[in-house]
């Protein structure tokens, strides 16, 4: 080889040398990808507009303040479903959030060997368990034993579904915390549990918060396990150990009703569910983004 570099014909051909066929292919695939992206958004847009259009009509003060009342008569509401959902999801959160977080901390910070892999595997399986199976399980071990349908049993069924969600999502974000931060804190002579509590968890804070919010949203929308465990109730009740109503249950029942008025109420309920779930998801993202900005 001579010392002088040969001219680089490859570069001078850039832009001019690409064949027409390749340009066509490029264009076809680009368009194809845009279309697929658009298609993916279509169902959500369709559902949202449909539910909003139908649901908004049925919203009134009574809808939020009254209970169903006499079937077929106007003026009823679904106040008991809001209260029921709040209580059921509240109990679920109180149980599932600490359990989920502790499991995640175990898996990410302490878990080694076969036991940790088993726990992770079981969480994975639970994650893909059909929700009605969780409902049936709690029906068999709680409802049958206690001899009563109850909001509490529904909360337990939701825990079975939501616990692995919180665990896996939190474990992922805990693993994202750089090892260097843990070592930095350990090297200061800080005990391991304090390193986890005061350095690792706060660093992953936004991600953990998002995981919890999304899990709440999931629990909120479940119907089948609640149907099998809380049964439903058209009267206002705050007794978590008796039959309870929930938003999703009310939508299910009203949608099947033979009264047109109930069907309208179902749409309104669906609208409320959609808004709450959307609010949780968006709220989680906003708070996560805000915390990220604060630390950068």
């Amino acid at each position: 080889m001579s010392g002088v570099a040969a001219p680089a014909p490859a570069f001078t051909r850039l832009g001019t040398g690409v064949s027409a066929a390749r340009k066509m292919k490029d264009r076809a695939f680009t368009v194809g990808l845009w279309v697929c992206g658009g298609l993916a958004m279509l169902p959500l847009l369709f559902i949202a507009t449909y539910v909003i259009e139908r649901g908004l009509k049925a919203l009134s003060i009574n809808f939020f303040l009254k209970t169903p009342g006499i079937p077929g008569q106007p003026g009823g509401g679904i106040a008991e479903a809001f209260v029921g959902t709040a209580i059921i999801v509240g109990i679920m959160a109180v149980i599932a959030v600490p359990l989920g977080l502790l499991t995640a901390v175990y898996l990410s910070e302490y878990g080694r060997g076969w036991f940790a892999s088993t726990v992770r595997f079981v969480a994975e399986i639970l994650l893909s368990t059909p929700s009605i199976v969780a409902g049936a399980f709690i029906w068999a071990v709680v409802v049958v034993r206690l001899g009563a349908f109850s909001g509490f049993a529904a909360a337990l069924a939701l825990c079975v579904l939501v616990w692995p969600i919180i665990t896996r999502a939190t474990e992922e974000v805990l693993r994202l915390v750089p090892q260097e931060l843990r070592e930095g804190a350990l090297a200061l002579g800080v005990p391991r549990w304090k390193v986890i509590l005061r350095v690792v968890i706060p660093t992953a804070g936004a991600g953990i918060f998002t995981a919890i919010m999304l899990a709440m949203a999931r629990g909120l929308g479940e119907t089948a396990p609640v149907l099998l465990t809380a049964l439903g109730n058209s009267f206002m009740t705050t007794n978590a150990f008796g039959p309870m109503d929930s938003l999703s249950l009310r939508v299910y029942v009203d949608a099947q009703s033979s009264y047109a008025l109930d069907n309208v109420t179902a749409w309104a309920g669906a609208f409320c569910l959609l808004i709450i779930v959307l609010g949780l998801s968006i709220g989680a993202r906003v708070i996560a983004a805000r915390q990220l900005r604060r630390t950068r």
Partner: protein
């Protein structure tokens, strides 16, 4: 007197035998530098001194590390206590992202002891002054530590380590991620610190070792080839391999 004395130290990562029968000592209130090519075990050795080595999965150690006469690896020795008295600064600055500059400086005290707010603040200021950072950050103590420049972050990490008042400070290539002027600041800092603490520093930069260290040890393939006064190592080393390395013939 020797602050640290290592004898018969072996270390592994899984099956990989990284340190082979290492002996070393570091005199009180001096600077000892560890030099050697990449992968020779310098970082592993320094991490064995405050029991950070065992934090890596599959890592194992045998042998003795005496710190002021007591064995760091004795069964009844608490690694938390060891690390409080033997501080460490890492290769990459690692301030805690959720904490402010001041909170970072006192993190070890805050999480490791019960001190009043004013006491914490005082100790934090003292540590930041010792690390030569106070003048630069005194007006933004409440800002996140991650917003400082790389060099400032590293000095914040030095301050954080000093706040706990360790007797020995381990530095694992503390300047390798920094620009030349920040490197100079770290070197000046080491010079100042050796009046009050024993410094053991790993470095890839031989000029740096020559500038700041009283004692230098040369490592190769997990063994200590030669340890002597820095002058001796860099001018009349006893071992041919040391001479080849410090004159730049390999590594």
């Amino acid at each position: 007197m020797n602050a640290v004395e290592v004898s018969g130290l072996n270390a592994w990562f899984g099956d990989h035998h990284v340190l082979k029968d290492v002996h070393m000592e570091a005199q009180s209130e001096t600077v000892t530098a560890m030099i050697g090519p990449s992968g020779c075990g310098k970082s592993t050795l320094i991490r064995c001194l405050n029991r950070m080595h065992e934090e890596v999965r599959g890592a194992r150690v045998t042998g003795k590390v005496l710190f002021n006469g007591t064995d760091v690896y004795a069964p009844d020795t608490d690694p938390v206590e060891v690390r409080r008295r033997i501080g460490m600064v890492f290769q990459r600055p690692n301030p805690f992202p959720t904490m402010s500059v001041m909170e970072n400086a006192v993190a070890g005290l805050k999480l490791g002891s019960r001190l009043s707010k004013s006491e914490l603040r005082q100790r934090g200021e003292r540590a930041l002054r010792r690390a030569g950072l106070w003048e630069e950050v005194k007006d933004r103590l409440d800002q996140p530590g991650g917003r400082l420049s790389g060099g400032q972050q590293q000095r914040l990490c030095v301050a954080r380590a000093l706040a706990v008042e360790p007797e020995v400070l381990l530095m694992d290539e503390p300047a390798s991620a920094l620009d030349p002027s920040s490197t100079l600041r770290i070197e000046e800092l080491v010079e100042e610190l050796k009046d009050s603490v024993t410094v053991i520093i790993v470095t890839h930069n031989m000029q740096q070792a020559a500038r700041i260290a009283d004692w230098t040890m040369f490592m190769l393939n997990g063994e200590v080839v030669e340890a002597d006064s820095t002058e001796k190592i860099f001018t009349t080393p006893a071992d041919q391999r040391t001479e080849d390395y410090v004159t730049g013939r390999f590594g």
